[in-house]
Amino acid sequence: MNFNLTSTPEEEKFRQEVSDFLDKELTDEIRRQYAIDKGLGPEGRAFALKLGAKGWLGLGWPKEYGGSDGSIIHDFILVQEFARHEVHIPNEVARFMSGPTILHHGSEEMKREFLPRIARGEIEFGLGYTEPPAGSDLLAMQMVAVEKEDCYLITGQKTFNTESHYADYHWLAAKTDLNAPKHESISLFVVDQRSPGITITPIWTLGGERTNEVFYDDVRVPKNRLVGEKNRGFYYMIEALNYERLMMSQTERLVPILNRIIEYTRQTRRNGKLMTEDPLVRNKLAQMAIEIEVSKCLEYRAFAMLFEGRSPDYESGISKLFISELYQRLAYTGMEILGFFGRLDEDSKWVPLRGEISRLCRMSVVYTIGGGTSEIIRNLTATRGLGLPRN
């Protein structure tokens, strides 16, 4: 047993390299762009290309598709170091969802077209799953792709497509068989977002991020942009979703937030005494440290299963479940400690910690909803983790 992030000198060398790279290359502007604009700005894009040049966006992929040496462990170390440096891996959907799916299920042509560009950090995909009637119940989707000669004609509406306003391609799920059982009726497509007939309109959220509605009006998608087998899309989605949940579990990101709250209590007097001396404050922050440690253990456990070649199932679900709820508890604990000042927005006079606690408090509302609601994960944990009968 070994709970260290790295287990071998080679892994430690890699971790150090990533860490040094980030220490050197990461600017506040890049961090800001990734946090708010998802890397939309020129600095963010340039940063992605640098990562690509390092070979870090195609770790473990075959060389012929632009990949480089590495394994899931290296991906994990990469993600952890990025988390510790408080920035997301750029082009996450391309790197961790579309890319692996194309690699495992895509045609040779598709692999050659897309994988090298993903590995170079050139392109991002926008996740195109959710529809107004199809949230937790993905299979209720209604967007239809009709086969016609050399293409599919696609019409319908997607919503909460977070990356669509800056992504290059839409990673689209649509119905290709209206008569088959639902889970055998969906196919995945790679759609050029500049295709005629696509309209993208913004939705602004409580967290301040933009997400999008995406409308398809008879959009022509060439047949070679169908991913893998027709009507197998739902299985591909599930496969990638599990991975997504794991990648969303980055407990390391919580550590610097807690540290800044602690630092704040060191410098702040309330009721005539330093906040660090207040037993209620001490108790609350200790509880946060405890829960962060538990979250880290749950996350490491799920990853370690992957490294062993076992496929985590409910284990990645509860890792996501726990961290998403912990984000909310941490944000509220921060709000309690920052008091009135915690209610100030980033641009306000008197705002502490650049408004990050207030922002986290707003943003974390969606963490227990997106990527599988807490309720859905509890269902799956009961049925798949504990073998309770399905309702």
């Binding site: 409580l206 007097r269 309330r270 005539g272 009135f340 915690g342 909803i369």
Partner: protein
């Protein structure tokens, strides 16, 4: 025991609800929140016409002599509508304080104007070490001839930018006990030397920093007794805390209504999600929390009206409402899902309102300590 409202009270609630539904649609709400003024003159005028600002004041000062319960019911409806604007700061923080402690002249001068909706007021308490603790009051007021010179910085003063009068809590003497030597002043909002800076809160509820740069205030503007202001303020803060509870009761009811109505309509897996036990239990938990908020708040109002010592019960109400409203909103989000996370839904309004309400006039730990003081001093 009896939990019936009088016909008068039922009428107030019903007409307020109807008025706000008709006159304060979500679009106007957003306009007011986004605007710099923070409210609509037209709506304000109509509220005044309905007698809302006059409700709580005795007839001799231009009011209609309503009781605290009636004010609570009105505030509940405002909370339900998430209504922004200076009603709270004018009537509760300004008016009630003047009514409580003002000289006959001060009352006659100010209250009728408030009651007619012609005067906007607010109360400046908190400072940079702010926790409603007397030791944190450092803004000074030094006697000089026939005036006091007020100097220092106040924070989180609601609607200060439109206030005709600022009630300001200042230190007039430094005693051994930090509660001593605090005095309230009525200060002209346009007085020379006052600088307002908007603080951008989560709820965009027009809170201000006020810098008093050696502002001259006539001696007759002292409100209540010199140096004995903290006792008055504590009383006002308790009433204001309960008034804030009423807003949370209304807000909580609206969030629950939105969640339940969504759960009935929204179909997933071939059924309305409201038929799933997980969603049902979320909604039930919201209702339990809300009913708790509602009845502890009403009980507090009843005690105020009956002049039964209410400090402990009001702190109980505020602590409970803070925590319960937070849970109600969180569960509401969980029921409504992604749709409720979008700014064009009303959920974010209540989320933001909750974050401000739970801290204003004391967070839960603050009020639990008041309750603890009562528990440990008794017996």
């Amino acid at each position: 025991m009896d939990i019936k409202f009088t016909e008068e009270q039922q009428l107030i609630r019903k007409s307020a609800r109807q008025f706000l539904m008709d006159k304060c649609p979500s679009s106007l709400l957003r306009e007011m929140v986004e605007g710099t003024k923070g409210y609509s003159d037209e709506l304000w005028r109509q509220m005044a016409e309905l007698g809302w600002m006059a409700l709580i004041f005795p007839e001799e000062f231009g009011g209609t002599g309503g009781n605290f319960m009636e004010l609570i019911l009105l505030l509940e409806e405002m909370g339900r509508a998430c209504l922004p604007g200076p009603f709270f700061s004018t009537v509760v923080l300004g008016g009630l304080t003047i009514l409580e402690a003002g000289t006959k002249q001060q009352k006659q001068e100010l209250l009728p104007k408030i009651a007619k909706g012609e005067l906007i007021a607010t109360l400046a308490i908190t400072e940079s070490e702010s926790d409603y603790d007397p030791s944190s009051i450092t803004v000074t007021a030094k006697a000089k001839g026939e005036s006091f010179i007020v100097h220092g910085t106040k924070l989180f003063v609601p609607n200060a930018h439109v206030a005709d009068y600022l009630l300001c809590v200042a230190r007039t003497e430094k005693g051994k006990d930090p509660e001593d030597g605090i005095t309230l002043f009525v200060i002209d909002g346009k007085a020379e030397g006052i600088k307002y800076t908007l603080l951008n809160t989560m709820a965009k509820d027009k809170q201000y920093e006020i810098f008093f740069n050696k502002v001259r205030v006539p001696k007759e503007n002292v409100l209540g007794e010199l140096n004995k202001g903290w006792g008055l303020l504590k009383k006002i803060l308790q009433k204001a805390a309960l008034a804030k509870c009423a807003e949370m009761v209304g807000g909580g009811q609206q969030v629950l209504d939105m969640a339940v109505s969504y759960a009935k309509k929204r179909v997933q897996f071939g059924k309305p999600i409201g038929s799933f036990q997980a969603i049902q239990h979320h909604c039930s938990n919201m209702l339990v929390d809300l009913d708790g908020c509602r009845w502890v708040t009403y009980k507090g109002a009843w005690m105020i009206d009956e002049d039964i010592p209410y400090e402990k019960e009001v702190s109980i109400a505020k602590a409970w409402c803070n925590d319960a409203f937070r849970r109600i909103v969180a569960l509401g989000h969980q029921v409504i899902g992604g749709v409720g996370y979008c700014e064009d839904h009303d959920m974010p309004l209540y989320f933001r309102m909750g974050r401000m309400a739970e801290i204003t006039f004391g967070d839960s730990d603050f009020h639990r300590e008041i309750v603890a003081k009562q528990l440990f001093s008794a017996g």
